[in-house]
Amino acid sequence: MTSSASSRTDLKPLKLVIAGGFSAGKTTLVGSTSEITPLTTEAPMTNMSLGVDDRGEVATKTATTVALDFGRITLSESMLFLFGTPGQDRFWFMWDELSKGAVGAIVMVDTRRLPDSFAAVDFFEQRQLPYVVVLNRFDGHLAHSVDAVRGALSIAPGIPILDADIRVRTEGIRVLVELVRHAIQQRRAPAR
């Protein structure tokens, strides 16, 4: 193993998307798995994506941004970026950019607020981007069982639904492993 992986120029960039409703644990997952303190960046929202709350005030548009939290893991041949993105469907343009070429997506679900996850599940389903669903254990509890969530969100039987305490690094890594495993399966047998 090289000791100076961080200065290598032959690393391949890889990314995955972490989506979910407000405070569903996106940033927590980025934080527990990233080798760096999670960073934040901003992208300006385009006019089209502003359609939902557009009130015709052109001057205010330039000030509207969407924040992305992200982290990084340096691996033997790649640098993996984890991008956390807001779950509301008016941010679809950002999901669009993030999902392009992504390994896959993780949908974080707060079982107390299931409807917040509909948009993300729908989006990744349509894109046929491999995704897993993670039920975040708040204070060690789940408001609904895995089966109940699968039914409520109409998640296909082949999509893994994991139950994890993503504050713990090993649990966070387990989620990433499951996503990549699922992505490999989907690559091997794309039709489902």
Partner: protein, 120 residues
């Protein structure tokens, strides 16, 4: 009438500054530069020819850093970071590695990634 009823946004001056940084261009020459693209600074002969932003990018990209990290570090929007990097690549100040995002990672890449993650 579209009167300026809303209070002046503190973001606005910053936006103008960002617009100036990229010499008025709203979009990068290389619009396809994904935000995870890895940027590495190339050896610079004359440091004092660099703009302050280029100097910051050169300093932070001794090893590969993503467009997203550059954006975060310089406190500029992703689009601005993209343009700054495109210009540096055009001027031989930096090199960029991007994946082919039209196809996504191939099976071999995914298997290596899985292997790596399982060893963490």
């Amino acid at each position: 009438m579209n009167s300026p009823s809303s209070p002046p946004s503190p973001e606005r001056p910053r936006f103008l500054r960002q617009f100036a940084l990229t010499q008025g261009r709203g979009q990068s020459i290389d619009r396809d530069l994904p935000l995870e693209s890895l940027v590495t600074a190339l050896p610079v002969v004359r440091q004092n020819w660099l703009t302050p932003e280029q100097r910051l990018i050169v300093e932070m990209c001794v090893g590969p850093r993503s467009i997203a990290e550059i954006s975060s570090h310089l406190h500029v929007h992703l689009g601005v970071a993209r343009i700054l990097v495109s210009d540096m690549v055009a001027n031989g100040l930096a090199s960029v590695v991007s994946a082919d995002n039209d196809t996504g990672p191939d099976l071999d890449t995914l298997e290596r990634l899985l292997n790596d993650l399982q060893r963490l």
